[in-house]
């Protein structure tokens, strides 16, 4: 089957520092990859490269249609959560149930806690129909229940033939391929 994400000989420099050189990997349907490494090793940059938001200094990145959840909320604060998520489309109601924020649907985004915001950004990814999920530090601000729900969502996405890349230095539930970035 066709790969969903492919890095070919990718080199990236940020602010004069070499983050990684000749990085090469491929991710197909049903695969999940955890990008590990200490702070500043380039985990987030790798996610942004995969999302097409950064350009590699050398090499090529090919990605299928994707959904991204990072640090940035990208939800209009003055809107009700349902409408703020609705702007980005997809099956919002199901995604809110899956992350147990459906009872907050009528609450303005600005009143949500950081954990609830994190769930909302993950709900945007879950609502999308993109085969490739890019998650930057998905566990930040999530409680035990949130982690469990995220784990279940990832399992289901993998079973449906999707792929997930998660950047995190913490243990994610389940079996992950590991990619260790050097400091």
């Amino acid at each position: 089957m066709k790969g969903l994400l492919k890095f070919s000989n990718v080199t990236l420099r940020r602010g004069g520092n070499l983050l990684f050189e000749d990085l090469e990997f491929e991710l197909g349907p049903g695969e999940r990859l955890q990008v590990m490494g200490p702070n500043g090793s380039g985990k987030s940059s790798l996610i942004r490269l995969a999302a097409g938001l950064l350009r590699a200094d050398r090499g090529q990145v090919d990605a299928a249609e994707l959904a991204l959840a990072g640090d940035h909320v990208a939800l209009d604060r003055e809107l009700l959560l349902r409408h703020a998520l609705g702007f980005w489309g997809g099956s919002v109601e199901q995604a809110m149930v899956a992350l147990h924020i459906d009872h907050l649907a009528e609450v303005p985004v600005r009143l949500l806690s950081s954990g609830q915001i994190k769930r909302a950004t993950l709900a945007r990814v879950a609502a999308s129909r993109a085969p490739l999920w890019l998650l930057d530090e998905p566990l930040n601000a999530l409680d035990t229940d949130g982690r469990k729900r995220l784990g279940a969502l990832v399992e289901r996405h993998i079973d449906d033939g999707g792929a997930v890349v998660a950047a995190s230095h913490q243990a994610l539930g389940g079996e992950w391929r590991k990619l260790e970035l050097k400091p």
Binding site: A51, A67, L68, A74, D76, E78, F87, W88, R124
Partner: protein, 205 residues
């Protein structure tokens, strides 16, 4: 997605402070009679130019909330991930900004012209020039907002950047040279999305 983005930006414009530039516009127009005196003939002579100066300075007010909030909040990134070209984002922002600025300005020009003792004929001409020039002005403001997004003291830098670039609009608008005004406005309207789009890509980190 473009239509949704325009609707969103218009909604944010009106729930934000769309009236603020308009109030500023009227305030500048009010100051002029105090500054040059109540001589109706003199006011009538400088009136069209004053309307344009008021419009340019008023256009500066919203410059910091047009692009920067969406950049820092990751909205621009998410739009890119959803496959929306930066030029299309910029185009949507220009349309939305004009909708929240242009019609209100044209409306506010009526009381402003009364303050400046413009007769009905001059008011009509000024309205026409403003209607032709404001799309170009909106495009320029969004482009400058994108270029200065993320910079410290972006508002002041935007002023230094915007006002000189708006001089052709001011000259032809105040002189009521409508064809030249239309040409400048068209150039700015057509070029704005590409400048703003390139700037949005460039400030991405």
């Amino acid at each position: 997605m473009i239509a949704a983005l325009i609707v969103r930006d218009v909604r944010r414009g009106f729930t934000g402070a769309a009236w603020l530039p308009i109030a500023f516009f009227l305030l500048v127009a009010t100051l002029v009679p105090f500054a040059v005196g109540p001589d109706a003939r003199l006011l009538g002579q400088v009136g069209p130019g004053v309307l344009w100066i008021a419009a340019l300075t008023a256009a500066l007010l919203p410059v910091e909330r047009l692009v920067e909030p969406d950049r820092s909040d990751g909205v621009l990134d998410q739009l890119a991930v959803h496959g929306v070209a930066e030029e299309s984002i910029a185009f949507a922002k220009i349309v939305a900004h004009w909708l929240t600025f242009g019609p209100l300005l044209l409306l506010a020009a009526v009381p402003a012209s009364a303050l400046l003792a413009l007769d009905a004929g001059s008011l009509w001409k000024a309205e026409l020039a403003l209607a032709i020039g404001t799309p170009g002005l909106a495009s320029l403001v969004v482009a400058v907002a994108a270029v200065t997004a993320g910079l410290p003291r972006a508002g002041s830098i935007a002023g230094l950047l915007l006002l000189p670039l708006a001089v052709p609009l001011l000259i032809f608008g105040a002189a009521n040279a409508l064809l030249l005004e239309a040409a400048v406005s068209l150039l700015l309207t057509a070029g704005g999305p590409f400048v703003a789009g390139a700037a949005i890509r460039a400030v991405r980190t």
